[in-house]
Structures are given as structure tokens and as C-alpha cells.
């Protein structure tokens, strides 16, 4: 088995707002092997971005509070590192691509300077050398080097996202977290960016966490998939486990609510109801109120995570029974 670059153990992150507590991430366990891509899938408010920010150490406090757990990166717990140490890791060892390339860039700085900034901070190179390397990085993501002296508004959305990718990859990080990197882009541009990320991953051997709500993107990019719902990982496995043998009622609901390009469906099958309010999560299973297979037991107590196979885990007893062919 490959070495794990990242292990998240029992991580819980809450936001405390006045008298309410938003339970954003609850007892999450995840592992990522070196060189692999993990897809983190879930709907708005599932806690995907909070989890990613937790790994980056950029949860704003207040209101964010890490209530417990460990984030082991190359064997060391990131939560025990002080601010200075985290600053060194961030951008150099772990970096992040944010969702919206339009707001992630500084509008009054040339893109070349924005890429060079990372290099000067972490690798302490001269301004000239950093500028030269910035041009090389731009070329790597398919933008002519002479455009380094232009400002973000002179670039299209797809090109801005490439600039953000160039910044994230400037120090050749071990781990790249991409938060919905292509959601704001058109399909033909999305395909260009995904293709670029896949090539760079092969070249540089970067491990990646890809946050998305698009199963298409997951299937194109990821070896492992974690499905999140209301701050919990409800199902985890290889892409094949999830796409071909996904058995959590939420996972199945997500697949069934997608309009298909291949077959004709007279009606879609949406998941009824809404995601629970994260300040008032149900005592039992968070998905129970929307689940067609919910029993009294589900309303009272959460199911434990069960290993179905060596790679495939699910947090639902009903799903375990369907997987084993008992239902």
C-alpha cells in the first residue's frame, strides 16, 4: 500500500455564532495516499470547504473552532503547529485553488508579480529570478510568458483560473486542494483546465483533494471519492466503489437526481426535502428525515462507519445490508 500523505482523524470543526453553533464538520476520517486524487462531493453546506480550510489552517477564529481530531500531514499533526510553521507549509507544501478565479486574484497587481510573490516568500529568490520563474510557470499552464505584465482584468475566466493554478503550483506543493476549480467555467474551458490539472499531476506527482459537486468531474479526475452530507463523510471508496457499488441512500439519491445524457427519463427522481439546518442537526442520522429507507432506529442513533471491502466504507446499516444482498 502506498504511503499516506494526509490522514484526517476524527476532525470536528464548529462555528460559534452568538448562541448558536454551526456544526460544519463532524468526526471526519479521511486518508489520501501519495500521488492520488480524492474527490470530495456534496451539496452546498455539506462542509467541504470548511474541511479544506481546516487542512490549510485558515479557519477564521472566531467564529471557527476546531473541536477535536488530528490532521496528519506527512506524519505530523498540523493542528499542533504554530502560526509561523503553518505559514511555511501553506503555499510551499500545501496550496489551494479557490473556487472563483475572478475574486481570488489581486486586481491591482500584475499576474506575474502575483506568481512571483509566492516564490519570493518561500524560496527567497531575487526579484529578477522570481519574475523569470513566473513566466515559466505561465507557459506551463499555457499562457504566453510575455503576458506576465498584464492585470487580471485583461484575462478571461479560464485564463484567470490558469493563473491561480500557476500560483498554487509555484512551489511544487506536495498536496493541492482545489475547491470547485472549474465550477465558474464553461464546459469547453472546464475540459481544458481539467486536462491541464491532470497533466501537471502526472508531471509533478502532486496529491490532490478536489472539491466538487459534479460527478462528471469526479469521474474524470479522481481515484478516491468521499461523499459528504451535513458535515459527515457518509461514504468513502475508490471511484469504482462509489460509481458502481455506491450504496448509501444519499449517494444513490444524488446519482438518481442527475439528468442523464444517455437514457430517456420521463421524470427525475429528486431527493425529497432539504439539508438539515447545521445549527440543529438531528440526534440520529442526519440524512434520516430525507431517507426513503429510514427506520425508528435511524432517528435515534447514528450508524457507525462500516468497512464493506478494504477500500469501501459506508455510514449506514441499511446500505450495509443492501451491499451484502440482504435487502
Amino acid at each position: 500500500m502506498a504511503e499516506n500523505i494526509l490522514e484526517i482523524k476524527d476532525l470536528t470543526i464548529h462555528y460559534v455564532v452568538e448562541k448558536e453553533t454551526v456544526e460544519a464538520v463532524n468526526h471526519v476520517n479521511l486518508t489520501l495516499a501519495k500521488g492520488e486524487t480524492l474527490g470530495l462531493v456534496g451539496e452546498t453546506g455539506a462542509g467541504k470547504t470548511t474541511l479544506a480550510k481546516g487542512v490549510m489552517g485558515i479557519i477564521p477564529n472566531p467564529p471557527g473552532k476546531i473541536r477535536g481530531g488530528e490532521i496528519l500531514f506527512e506524519g505530523e499533526d498540523l493542528l499542533k503547529k504554530d502560526k509561523k510553521a503553518m505559514q511555511k507549509i501553506r503555499g510551499e507544501k500545501i496550496s489551494m485553488i479557490f473556487q472563483d478565479p475572478m475574486t481570488a486574484l489581486n486586481p491591482v497587481m500584475t499576474v506575474g508579480d502575483q506568481i512571483a510573490e509566492v516564490l519570493r516568500l518561500h524560496q527567497h529568490v531575487s526579484a529578477k529570478e522570481a519574475g523569470q520563474k513566473a513566466k515559466e510557470l505561465l507557459e506551463m499552464v499555457g499562457i504566453p510568458g510575455q503576458r506576465a505584465s498584464e492585470y487580471p482584468h485583461q484575462f478571461s475566466g479560464g485564463m484567470k483560473q490558469r493563473v491561480v493554478i500557476a500560483i498554487a503550483l509555484a512551489c511544487r506543493p506536495e498536496l493541492l486542494i482545489a475547491d470547485e476549480p472549474t465550477t465558474a467555467l464553461d464546459v469547453t474551458i472546464q475540459m481544458q483546465v481539467l486536462d491541464l490539472m491532470n497533466n501537471l499531476k502526472k508531471q509533478l506527482g502532486t496529491s490532490m483533494i478536489l472539491i466538487t459537486h459534479d460527478f462528471g468531474v469526479v469521474a474524470e479526475m479522481c481515484e478516491k471519492v468521499a461523499i459528504m452530507y451535513a458535515g459527515e463523510v457518509v461514504e468513502y471508496g475508490t471511484a469504482r466503489d462509489i460509481f458502481n457499488h455506491g450504496c448509501h441512500p444519499y449517494t444513490r439519491g444524488l446519482f438518481e437526481s442527475l439528468p442523464s445524457l444517455n437514457e430517456d427519463q420521463p421524470r427525475l427522481k429528486p431527493i425529497v426535502g432539504l439539508m438539515p439546518d447545521p445549527t440543529k442537526l438531528p440526534v440520529g442520522c442526519s440524512f434520516a428525515p430525507r431517507c426513503p429507507f429510514c427506520t425508528d432506529a435511524c432517528l435515534e442513533k447514528k450508524c457507525e462507519t462500516t468497512n464493506l471491502t478494504e477500500t469501501h466504507q459506508v455510514k449506514c446499516d441499511y446500505a450495509v445490508r443492501t451491499f451484502n444482498g440482504e435487502v
Partner: protein, 316 residues
């Protein structure tokens, strides 16, 4: 054949400091009553502008729009008000298209008040309740404000507002793009049920090809303001002709493992719609472009009944 809406050589240009922006350039199509026309294309291709011109939120620069056989391209304010009874719009963003200081009931009732549909309050309140029921909003949310509701419920308010005047045509501008998939499916089902029950005609503008395939009878593909292909939905997915349509379809990520992935990755990006050069607008990105494509605009041709393509390279 009962044509409800006909658009002929529709053009919409905007004046910009850089020159004329050709947002919609020579688009023609017809829609039958009770059918759905899907309009797809990437951002900036003019699909939303076209929807807005059709419902008269913007005035056409040139061309004609016929509704039930009458020319409605130029209307005065009285005619426009009457037209609003027949044509309505559902907007993309349920977060910014609703007045945050109005309650759900007021929002839904606003078109009824503007058009002075009811003389007495009782009938008005009854109609508002009826509309809420139609779109699946519980009576108890009636006095709440939009910020208290999630995206799916807000979009239901947008739909109820569009339905209030019992229109015949609704232009839906990316109505599910801002919603999560599980909620998106609820709204798509609602729109299709409403069409079945009330005989509505939709113009459904979206960039999501799986959504458009699901809901449309005909699909129109736009690129930089021009229509490149239009045909029945099934035909578009099985027998598409235009290189841009092919590239667009091949760029959709496939949500399955163990499938063969052959994505045709287009080079370059959409060029500027300001003062476009003559010739096919897709030519700079097209893998099959010839000299002719760069110098001469292709005409829209009907290559077989109901299937229109604008491309020099398509022969049959």
C-alpha cells in the same frame, strides 16, 4: 402545426466604447405551442440576451418577433403591458431577483396588483394561495422573507410570479443553475408538470447540456451571437453536424467509471463579439476550418426537415 412564436433574423447590438457588440446576430426560429426550445451555448454567446429581447426587457436592434401571428417587435407601453400577460420570465439567480423587503405572498401577488387583475381582496388572496400550492410552497412560508428561505424555495417563488398572469410563453433563463442537484431535479420536475397541466411553451436558456436534453423538444446551439445548429433534441445528441456542437458535447465530463473518454479539447477561447470579422465566428477554434471559413460567413441551411446547420464543411 400551431406556431406560437416566430423569430426572424433577430439582431441585438450594444454600443460599447470599443465598437458594436454583436450580442445576438441573425437568429431565426419558430416554436410550436406547448413545446420547449432549449437554447445552449457558453457564457457570452448571447443566449440570455436573446431571451430578454423576446420578452421585451431589451429592444431588438433589427429583425422581427411574431407572437401568435402578430408582429410584436415594436410595441408601445399599453401593448407591452398586455404582452406581459402572455409572456413571462424566470430568472437565473433566486438570490438577487427577489426584493428582500417583500414577503413571499407580496412577491407572488405583485404581478396581480400591477395588472389590477382582482377587484376584491378575497379573490386576490385566494389566487396567491392557489399559486403557492401550484409551485409547492407551504402556506406557512407566506409571511416569510426571501432570506429565510433556501434557493429551491426562492426559485419556486420566481416561478409562481411568472405564472401569476397565466402566460402562454415563459422564458426560463438558467432557472436551475444556482441550485444543488437534488433541488435542481425538484424544480425541473415542477416545470415539466406545469407544462403538462397548463400547456405552457418554454424557451429554456442554459449552459447545462444534460438539463437541456432532459427538458427540451428542440435545441438551438449558439456561438458568439449566432445560431450554429438547431434540431430536435434527440437528433442533436445522436446526429449532430456542426463542429462546435460536437466539441461542446464531447467536453461534458462523463459521470461514470470504466467508460472510454475521448474528449476533443478545443484550443483557444471565445473571441471578442465587438466588431466581429466576417467569416465563421467559430473558425479560429475549429479543427476543420479552411480558408473559406475565415473569409465567408456560412448561411444557415436546412439539411433535412427540422435540422438547421450553419457550416461550410457540412455537406448533406
Amino acid at each position: 402545426m400551431d406556431t406560437i412564436l416566430e423569430v426572424k433574423n433577430l439582431k441585438k447590438y450594444f454600443d460599447t466604447p470599443g465598437g458594436k457588440l454583436h450580442a445576438v446576430d441573425d437568429v431565426s426560429f419558430t416554436i410550436e405551442r406547448g413545446k420547449t426550445l432549449g437554447v445552449v451555448g457558453e457564457s457570452g454567446c448571447g443566449k440570455s440576451t436573446m431571451g430578454r429581447v423576446i420578452v421585451h426587457l431589451l429592444e431588438a436592434t433589427d429583425g422581427k418577433i411574431f407572437f401568435e401571428g402578430n408582429d410584436i417587435t415594436r410595441v408601445n407601453s399599453a401593448e407591452l403591458k398586455k404582452l406581459r400577460n402572455d409572456m413571462q420570465m424566470i430568472f437565473q439567480d433566486p438570490y438577487s431577483s427577489l426584493d428582500p423587503r417583500m414577503t413571499v405572498r407580496d412577491l407572488i401577488g405583485e404581478p396581480l396588483k400591477t395588472h389590477k387583475i382582482f377587484k376584491n381582496k378575497e379573490d386576490y388572496e385566494k389566487r396567491v394561495s392557489e399559486l403557492m400550492e401550484t409551485v409547492g410552497l407551504a402556506e406557512r412560508v407566506g409571511l416569510q422573507y426571501p432570506h429565510e428561505l433556501d434557493g429551491g424555495r426562492r426559485q419556486r417563488i420566481g416561478i409562481a410570479r411568472a405564472l401569476a398572469l397565466e402566460p402562454k410563453v415563459i422564458v426560463c433563463d438558467e432557472p436551475v443553475s444556482a441550485l444543488d442537484v437534488s433541488i435542481q431535479a425538484q424544480i425541473l420536475n415542477l416545470l415539466m408538470d406545469l407544462q403538462d397541466n397548463q400547456g405552457l411553451t418554454y424557451i429554456f436558456v442554459t449552459h447545462d447540456l444534460s438539463v437541456v436534453k432532459h427538458i427540451s423538444d428542440d435545441i438551438l446551439v449558439m456561438y458568439l451571437g449566432q445560431m450554429v445548429e438547431k434540431c430536435p433534441s434527440k437528433e442533436l445528441f445522436e446526429n449532430n453536424k456542426h463542429p462546435y456542437t460536437k466539441a461542446l458535447l464531447s467536453a461534458i465530463p462523463i459521470p461514470a467509471v470504466d467508460v472510454e473518454r475521448k474528449h476533443e479539447i478545443l484550443k483557444g477561447e471565445i473571441s471578442s463579439p465587438i466588431n466581429p470579422k466576417p467569416g465563421c465566428r467559430f473558425a479560429p477554434r475549429c479543427p476543420y476550418a479552411t480558408e473559406k471559413c475565415h473569409s465567408q460567413s456560412p448561411e444557415l441551411r436546412e439539411i433535412k426537415p427540422g435540422h438547421f446547420v450553419a457550416c461550410h464543411m457540412v455537406t448533406e
